[in-house]
Symmetry: C2
Subunit: 291 residues, 2 copies
């Protein structure tokens, strides 16, 4: 699982946040690794639940070995995540545990919502935003706040970096959804339109159904219901309707809105701007990425 | 999962150990509950891995709902276990975490061995004892040591109660294996001979193959290999061979041996005998139980 690679975004955020708050990044190394293991644990179990055969161009764990090994090595990875996350000064343990326990629980809740939504016909945009907040954004927040705690930042500033992370995380996930439809296949590195093929109720899907009327609504409904439709045709038609409805522009503007909120919160953290630069550059990459 | 009931053995051990070492059992309540949740988390995931339809006379979680809900509610239960186990004085957190992380990892390892053994032809009695030590005994040890830590017992005595628990845990699991073959159905509360039907490589199975020769070995091998054999016939024949080989007596004597070791270790804990009474009574029940 670990050898599949990945951007190592979450540990990077922890180290950068620790550094920004004037902490020693050496002290954040083990906890940062713990968050990466936790993230991989969730992917490992998610792949079983989604029956996903491929991740990062390679076979998923349950496919390569079997479901039982995937469940159990996920559980073990979770233990190892706790071992590493709690490798910190004893005085910081209560804060670290409160943050990590809360995050872990929310990520599980988010995954449950994600699965539930597949079978629910009444998912609203607010429901969707709640789900990605829990499933994705809180771990971004947690990564940043963990760095702040290890740097012994004041509680108020640790709270601000958490809120920064939550807005950044929402923008990050929306960017993922955007790229899945409007990305360029050469840059994205995976197939375009997978969310459309699987009828995933993303912000784009929900907004399109909210805005579409008449013929467009009828076209959307028909294309999402028809299971015999070849995937390329379904993707092309629905992407076309999305463009006509302005879903691309609306999604980008929602991403910009969350990112602006994040920047606003960052502005309230009382640290010289130049110390924030590295983290802000990474954050900008997260919401402007093409892959 | 929690409403299925159970003996609540592990939290009882934590509370009794805390009390024995002169601690306030109120301080041990949350961590003790955490261990019970952890135990239930492992059962929940084990039931998926074993495809077990029934536990304690009721449908298992994955059967009643589905595998995905069972994986995810197991993960969440694991988070809740950490939340409760770490509800203790900050000064004790490093010790508590070291103990619990180590235990959780070993229990996962034990489960992996248990699954591996099913497909291995070269499992030895030592392999089996290692597996039940990891899968079952260390959680008994952990329960007892957690009580000792919360009672702020000296490190040496906390180590002794851990070792007491490990021997007790081995005796406890061997008693389980014994009852599965030689128990009385009315008292045992579940079907007799399940380990035989499923070809489980318990101490009884491994010892029988070690001791059997000639006709008995041939009979054993044939009955274990023949998948078309009706379960009652298989159980009756193999139980008969076990008795002829003295497996019942040998198993009881191994249980007695581990229990005697446990008692010997308890004797080295410098606490008045009357304070040990309650815990010793429970321990005796664990290895002499009929259900």
């Amino acid at each position: 699982m670990i050898e599949l690679g990945g951007k190592r975004l979450r540990p990077s955020l922890t180290l950068m946040s620790c550094d920004m708050f004037g902490g020693r990044i050496e002290n954040a190394l083990a906890p940062a690794m713990g968050l990466e293991l936790f993230h991989n644990f969730t992917l490992l179990h998610d792949d079983i639940m989604d029956q996903a055969p491929i991740r990062r161009g390679k076979e998923t764990v349950f496919k390569k070995w079997n479901t039982n090994s995937a469940i159990l090595s996920g559980d073990t990875l979770f233990v190892m995540a706790y071992e590493l996350v709690t490798k910190t000064t004893p005085a910081l343990l209560p804060q670290v545990l409160e943050l990590f326990n809360d995050t872990a629980r929310k990520v599980c809740e988010g995954q449950q919502y994600d699965m539930d939504y597949e079978f629910r016909g009444d998912v609203s945009i607010d429901d969707y935003l709640l789900m990605i907040r829990l499933k994705t954004a809180v771990l971004i927040s947690c990564s940043l706040k963990l760095g702040a705690i290890i740097a012994m930042a004041p509680a108020e500033e640790a709270g601000l970096i958490y809120d920064f992370g939550e807005n950044l995380g929402l923008a990050f996930q929306l960017q993922d959804d955007y790229l899945d439809v409007f990305g360029e296949v050469d840059k994205f590195g995976k197939e375009i339109g997978n969310d459309i093929v699987t009828n995933k109720k993303t912000y784009l899907y929900l907004k399109a159904f909210e805005l579409a009327g008449g013929e467009k609504l009828e076209l959307l409904t028909r294309h999402y219901r028809d299971r015999s439709l070849p995937a390329p045709e379904k993707v092309a038609t629905i992407t076309g309707i999305y463009r006509e409805l302005g879903i691309d522009v609306l999604t980008r503007s929602l991403i910009d809105e969350y990112f602006a909120r994040a920047l606003d919160i960052m502005g309230r953290i009382n640290i010289p701007e130049e110390r924030k630069q590295l983290l802000l550059e990474l954050a900008a990459q997260m919401v402007n990425r093409e892959s």
